[in-house]
């Protein structure tokens, strides 16, 4: 890995429209699972998030997953949540990521264990996501731990955060991102955008606060591939807002066309986000359907045509 200046950082610095995706690590001790997913994304994305026990379900750890992704040629964004670790373990993980050359970290609160496969686990939440961003910035800029002790050499990762423009209190969401930027976030990825209108209203407030100049706003998108997935997202996943218009469109096509319609909605969303002032890129979350990501990017005009002849992509098409 190239410590210091990652592809994501270079893209943000150059003002290029950023594309990130997601790689969920496997439950088994299988080093090839990540390589297989990375293979599908390589060349199409600036970086891919490696999730941290997503949804509070046990998986291979995100630091190891990040190394495996890097080995497979995809720059990782190591996710780190406050759910499972206290401030000692969080800082230790951040230093490890720095030493191993992980170029980007994404710091978040994390889903509560009641949603996962171990609802009997202790929820830690020693720091909150803003405090973790602040801790990371302090580590990198000042070379200090929360104890005040010095860290030398300092880690060099880019610091990311998340925000959900669709969850109440809506009028506080831009200000909440402002707090994370004040604490040190340099890029932010958002929850799935299915309601572009609500997103654009939030983005207006984000622009008014002057945040896009200090923090690259990367909008989350993804295809809804079935009516069942749609219902699941609407009712079972906290914080996802699927507007009625999207549901109507998915229900309005024959069953065998739902996936294609979901994909078309996703592509339209990406196109509209590209035209939204202040949006620095898109983060494509495909929920185990990584092979569909290149096609979405290609259809949205975000991929090099040369990649379409790639056998992996041809299969997907």
């Amino acid at each position: 890995m190239n410590p210091g200046r990652g592809g994501l950082r270079a893209a943000i610095d150059a003002g290029r429209f950023v594309v990130t995706a997601e790689i969920g690590p496997p439950r088994g001790a299988d080093p090839d699972a990540i390589a297989a997913k990375a293979e599908l994304l390589r060349g199409w994305v600036d970086a891919a998030n490696v999730t941290d026990n997503q949804g509070a379900h046990v998986r291979l750890t995100s630091l190891a997953g990040s190394l495996l992704a890097a080995q497979a040629g995809v720059e990782p964004v190591m996710q780190l949540t406050c759910r499972d670790r206290n401030r000692i373990a969080l800082q230790s993980e951040l230093i490890a990521a720095g030493a191993l050359g992980v170029p980007n970290v994404l710091l978040l609160t994390g889903d509560h264990p009641v949603y996962g496969d171990h609802p009997d686990a202790k929820a830690v939440f020693d720091l909150d996501s803003l405090q973790l961003v602040w801790t990371a910035r302090t580590l990198r800029e000042r070379g200090r731990l929360l104890s005040g002790r010095t860290v030398e050499p300092r880690p060099q990762w880019l610091i990311g955060a998340v925000e959900n423009p669709f969850a109440p209190p809506l009028r506080f969401r831009a200000a909440r991102l402002g707090k994370k930027v004040a604490a040190g976030a340099e890029f932010v990825q958002t929850q799935f955008v299915f309601d572009v209108g609500v997103f654009q209203r939030w983005m207006g407030e984000v622009r008014d606060l002057g945040l896009p100049e200090r923090c690259a706003v990367i909008a989350g998108v993804g295809p809804i591939r079935s009516l069942r997935a749609c219902e699941f997202m609407r009712h079972k996943v906290p914080g996802i807002h699927v507007p009625d218009e999207v549901v109507r469109r998915l229900r309005g096509v024959p069953a065998d066309r739902v996936a294609a319609e979901g994909q078309a909605i996703c592509v339209e969303t990406v196109r509209r986000l590209r035209e939204t002032a202040g949006v620095a890129g898109v983060h494509v979350m495909a929920f185990g359907h990584e092979r569909g990501v290149p096609e979405i990017l290609y259809d949205a005009g975000l991929g090099e045509p040369v990649h379409v002849s790639d056998p992996a992509v041809s299969r997907a098409r």
């Binding site: 996501s129 801790t135 004040a182 914080g239």
Partner: protein, 175 residues
Amino acid sequence: MPDSPAAWPRPALPRLSARATYRLAPLLRPNPVYRRIAGWLERHPRALGWFTSAEKQSKEALFGCRMCGQCALPATGYACPMTCPKQLRNGPCGGVAANGDCEVYPGVTCVWVTAWERAEATGHGADLQKLQRPVDHRLTGASSWVQYWQGRDADLWTADGGLKITPTIFRTERT
């Protein structure tokens, strides 16, 4: 979702209106008399125990207080962030339902939605933008009033530095 265990903190709806709380709060503001009382209490452990217990009873009844010992209420519309199941001190998580309910306790309003509404309604919305420093777990169970009167609460939160400089995360600057 499985039944939410009672063990997790549960968002509390304050019993006292925001307006009334903001009107009453100045009565607790530090002054030389309170500081002397606090100093005396700290020299008399048994009295401190009674005092702390009285503080706990009243704040538990009014705000669902969990005795973190470093009270954030003045900066959160007097809705206690420690009653959030994730104990978030800096605002709501991304899992708040469209109707404002907590993701862990459906049917219970997110404490940060409550905080936002109370702070906005009384003209204190800007308080929520302050950066809350990490909790000191050594103070769990301690009297936050004594801490407050002794001036040890002064650095619990800070302004955002105008986005130009990152404010220091340390409560007391270390060199």
